[in-house]
Amino acid sequence: MKGPGGCAIGPIRSVIVALIALAATAPPAWAELRIDITQGRAEPLPIAIAEFAGASAEDAQFGRDISRVVSADLERSGLFRPLDARAFIRTEASVDVLPRFADWRVINAQALVHGVANTLADGRLRVQFRLWDVVAEQQMTGFVYQSSPAGWRRLAHLIADAVYERITGETGYFDTRIVYIAERGPKNRRIKRLAIMDQDGENHQFLTDGSNLVLTPRFSPTLQEITYLSYYRNVPRVYLFNIDTGRQQIVGDFPGMTYAPRFSPNGKQVIMSMSKDGNSEIFAMDIRTDEIVQLTHHSAIDTSPGYSPDGERVVFNSDRGGAQQLYVMDADGSDVRRISFGDGRYATPVWSPRGDLIAFTKIHRGTFYIGVMRPDGTGERLLTEGFLVEAPTWSPNGRVLMYFRQWPSDETGSGNRSKVYSIDLTGHNEREIITPLDASDPAWSPSIPF
């Protein structure tokens, strides 16, 4: 990733990170504390997250808030069980002395996180934390972070990421954001707005005012831009939205409806569908040079294209075989192969950032499913189902999916509701993402560089 991940909404322009170590304790590495997240349902790891200390009242408040966010992040992953602080025997207010491990073992904590927050003379917030293996009595990791005080929440997510990474061996995904469509109003006059929030639903912000129908936002890998469909002036076209400036800009000058946009992994192209005279084809456009390449040439519906993480292949949705199925082609449009062969109709394919799986929506006998399969079409697994579940999006580490769920309504439209959910790749730990209004079309940001 190039450049800082600065953006108008996440106000941290820079985060200084330093690895800290407490000189002591390096016994031989035996039976290291570890969660294997590829296993089905592991018992969540009991972890003690002590309230971060702070010398002043203000710093103590930062400390409390940070431990609360770290705890909530880890709990929501389904892999950790933060212990009730009321059971704690000690507070471990200092990160400069070894914890009393025996006191943490008594309450069955296997890991301990503690830290301290202090505001520096220049006004910046400095947060130091350590993660301890309580059984082996050794430090697993520790960092110092600095940011503007307004960025305390992001520091907390970075700490949660560090804990998650150290214990699971996977990259964390807590310091990320979600762009989605906020919805309200009756079913036939639904008001839809672009909205953005942190992955835990905090820092929520509307990006458009609802005067135009907007759909299917997706993040640029460079994080500053979103591509989406807008019915601006009642002409459905793909647009770019700059998160820093709020500027909106049409993508290309196409003679027909453009929709279903996604960025290429390097952020230079937008791949999308264009429909004209009733036929839809897939196009890739370089958003700097405006060079356009048509990738499909078929009378069928060809839509919902998305790149593999190496940018060399494209997965898409087509009914060229009769009903909606998933196809993979090379990025130049050659070598088209159908990959979905199960019962039902397949749609909205999205390649995992790890490259190993493709997530999809499946419709079979009136039920909608979210599932995954390998890029060659084998190993199909369905993770969740409902009256309508649609549009999976991957966490940047490829371990969690978000999607939206819609409920049926009666003749008056009552009961119509739509919410975003997350689910672990194992099919466990399904959680609603709390949003102020109804929600659909979520898209997970890449990891935010710092």
Binding site: P186, K187, N188, R190, L213, L215, T216, L229, N234, V235, P236, G256, M257, Y259, A260, S273, S275, D277, G278, N279, S280, H297, H298, S299, A300, I301, D302, T303, S304, N317, D319, G322, A323, Q324, A347, T348, T361, I363, G366, F387, L388, E390, A391, Q406, P408, S409, D410, E411, T412, G413, G415, N416, D441
Partner: protein, 185 residues
């Protein structure tokens, strides 16, 4: 590309059919319409008809949207995941084409809509197909393509609010909307 050439051939076939057997040549135009729907297998389930034409003496202004709705029928319906025109849809569109000839300055937009039982992006493509099936049929009946625009709303603008078969039948539709040139202005 292939589709476009094919559609053109169908349109030509339709036009010539209409020349020899004007107006209620349902057979000829019907064959054309089902051909245009290349991959569809027409099923027989009857779509719900549009508002029944009612001769209202002091009715809406001739050539207006209200006139179209009341005396011609502004919409046609489609089967699930299909965009071929059913016989009753073709009958409605033949009346629309005649109405368009009567009010030669009227311009229209055809809205293509889907039910909620599909995915969003696919439904945008399907709505576009439906709108164009309507447009192609009208054009084949002699309506100038310059008078007809299309827009797809996918599953975004249902007319019936329920989540049941009857509502979904109502929502799988192509709607003709007068956009300009109405005699009354």
């Amino acid at each position: 590309m292939i589709f476009r050439i094919f559609a053109l051939m169908v349109a030509v076939a339709l036009v010539s059919a209409c020349e020899t057997a004007p107006d209620e040549s349902a057979a000829a135009s019907g064959a054309g319409a089902s051909k245009a729907a290349t991959s569809s297998t027409g099923t027989t389930s009857a779509a719900t008809p549009a508002a029944t034409p009612a001769a209202a003496p002091s009715g809406p202004t001739a050539g207006s949207q209200e006139d179209l709705v009341a005396n011609v029928g502004d919409r046609v319906f489609f089967d699930f995941d299909k965009y071929n025109l059913q016989p009753d849809a073709r009958a409605t569109l033949e009346k629309q084409a005649a109405w368009m000839k009567r009010f030669a300055s009227v311009t229209i937009s055809i809205e293509g809509h889907c039910d909620e039982r599909g995915t969003r992006e696919y439904n945008l493509a399907l709505g576009e197909r439906r709108a164009n099936a309507v447009k192609d049929f009208l054009v084949a009946l002699g309506v100038s393509p310059s008078r007809v625009k299309t827009i797809s709303y996918g599953k975004e603008r249902p007319i019936a609010l329920g989540s049941n078969d009857q509502a979904w039948e109502q929502n799988r539709r192509g709607v003709t909307v007068v956009t300009g040139g109405s005699p009354s202005g």
